[in-house]
């Protein structure tokens, strides 16, 4: 039905949405969508973990740990993500050993997709450290004091009191950063990762349908971000505290 419609659209109007009727183009596009989604999900989870770890170390008693976190945040926040990605793929990757690919050849230890995930996780993680720090600093010191007075250790206090409150405070900022992360994944195009933009560009360079694919691409990202916003919105809703405003 849909395939037939778009096929006719191409024949009658010259609007070539090949991804909707051409099995080969469709396959490439779906692979791109899957790769992008995969990078997004893994990088979002990893960046959240990095943010948590970073903010924990930033508040620790160890001077070294604090300096390391500061350095990490400054480095990844103050340099362009495309440069970071290139740095990992073209500089760091060449220092790593290669592994046998099972067919008598050698392949890199970390794939392009792997480097994209690493680079984007570190990039978004740096911002998450700062976002979580802002949230944690907004938790009233008196609430923390109450926990300390009850004999909570610093870790227990973080898990049961500080983070649940800080999360709620920093959710809007976190939303922004994660949406940014989803959009930043298109940079993986530059190192040949078969994500959405890469797949689209392959399709339009063979099917000569740049304008159509651009529209498909934009709509796809709108939908991807909409899914993320929906999930975050649900999360925010379930975490709403009766009678408490942040």
């Amino acid at each position: 039905m849909i395939a037939a419609y778009f096929e006719r659209l191409n024949e009658t109007q010259g609007l070539n949405f090949s991804v909707f009727y051409d099995a080969f183009d469709q396959g490439r596009f779906l692979t791109g969508l899957w790769t992008t989604s995969y990078i997004c999900v893994v990088a979002i989870i990893a960046s959240l973990a990095l943010g948590l770890l970073g903010v924990w170390l930033a508040g620790s008693n160890s001077r070294l740990a604090r300096i390391l976190v500061r350095g990490y945040v400054q480095f990844f926040r103050n340099t362009p993500p495309l440069v970071q990605l290139s740095f990992f793929y073209f500089a760091v990757a060449t220092l790593l050993p290669t592994v046998s690919d099972g067919f008598g050849g050698r392949s890199p230890l970390v794939s392009g997709t792997g480097w994209a995930i690493i680079a984007f996780s570190l990039f978004a993680g740096a911002f998450n450290v700062e976002i979580f720090r802002a949230g944690i600093e907004a938790v009233p010191s008196t609430t923390v004091e109450a926990g300390e007075s009850l004999g909570y250790t610093r870790l227990q206090l973080y898990i049961h009191v500080v983070l649940p409150l800080a999360f709620r405070i920093c959710l809007p900022a976190l939303n922004n950063n994660l949406i940014n992360l989803v959009k930043t994944t298109t940079l993986a195009y530059a190192i040949g990762v078969p994500e959405l933009l890469y797949a689209a560009s392959q399709i339009w360079s063979e099917s000569f349908n740049v304008r159509e694919m651009m529209n498909v691409l934009l709509v796809t990202y709108v939908l991807l971000v909409a899914v993320l916003v929906f999930v975050m919105g649900r999360w925010e809703k379930t975490m709403r505290i009766p009678g408490y405003s942040t």
Partner: protein, 250 residues
């Protein structure tokens, strides 16, 4: 007024305590002893170091010099196990400081579960009992933001009691409450004291201090000006400064 119950061994002993924030000396050679089962009120003008003293007792604020022992444990010891100390000392704050993301029952249950690792069913039964004791059986599932100040403060008291402390500290717990809710909280504390809980209150409630305390300390400018049973202190203060203060507040 004479003591209404048998007093046991000293639970909190403060001796020669000095505390300075930079050049500001907020406690100067403070000494006091609180025995098991005793209710002690600390009164005095704002900024006289009363709250700081309480916060020194559970090591929220480190002291500069002197000694504080709680149940035989030296607070001014660099090797102090702060967590063990704080399990013995309950503290209730002026601003309640409940955990806003947990309901009343959970607030009371949290510390015994997380800190003492006690059995959940037992903790819950005890939390229900404590909330019933402070008159909040009907507010178990209510969040702090939906409770009145007096109700929040009573949850805070139950939360501290859930840890089975050896001594309870009350830091101007009724200062933010209106007269009616103030009464609920004071009655709760009075019941506790009557049951033999060791209580140290920093308070501006002179009527309460006179009625419930076994011993009253008057502080000003970081020193204990005078102390004694409430009958003596309120009836016949020896020091001019104490009389001047009491004249103003009574």
């Amino acid at each position: 007024m004479a003591s209404r119950h048998q007093l046991g061994e000293p639970v909190v002993v403060v001796a020669g305590v000095e505390k300075a924030f930079g050049a500001l000396r907020v406690l100067k050679d403070v000494a006091l002893t609180v025995r098991r089962g005793e209710t002690v009120c600390i009164i005095g003008p704002s900024g006289s170091g009363k709250s700081t003293l309480l916060r020194c007792i559970n090591a929220l604020v480190p002291i500069s010099r002197g000694s504080i022992t709680v149940a035989g444990r030296e607070v001014n010891d660099p090797a102090l196990d702060k967590l063990a100390l704080r399990r013995d000392v309950g503290i209730v704050f002026q601003q309640y400081n409940l955990f806003p993301h947990k309901n009343a029952l959970q607030n009371v249950m949290m510390a015994p579960l997380h800190v003492l690792k006690q059995d959940k069913a037992e903790v819950e039964a005890r939390a229900r009992m404590l909330l019933a004791k402070v008159g909040l059986s009907d507010k178990l599932a209510t969040y702090p933001g939906e409770l009145s100040g007096g109700q929040q403060q009573r949850v805070a008291i139950a939360r501290s009691l859930a840890m089975n402390p050896k001594v309870m500290l009350f830091d101007e717990v009724t200062a933010a409450l209106d007269p009616e809710t103030k009464k609920e909280v004071l009655v709760t504390i009075q019941d506790l004291a009557a049951e033999g809980m060791t209580c140290i209150l920093v308070t501006h409630e002179m009527g309460f201090a006179r009625e419930v305390a076994d011993h009253v300390y008057f502080t000003d400018g970081g020193v204990i000006v005078e102390h004694g049973p409430p009958g003596d202190l309120f009836g016949a203060a020896r020091e001019e400064r104490t009389r001047a203060f009491l004249d103003k507040v009574l």
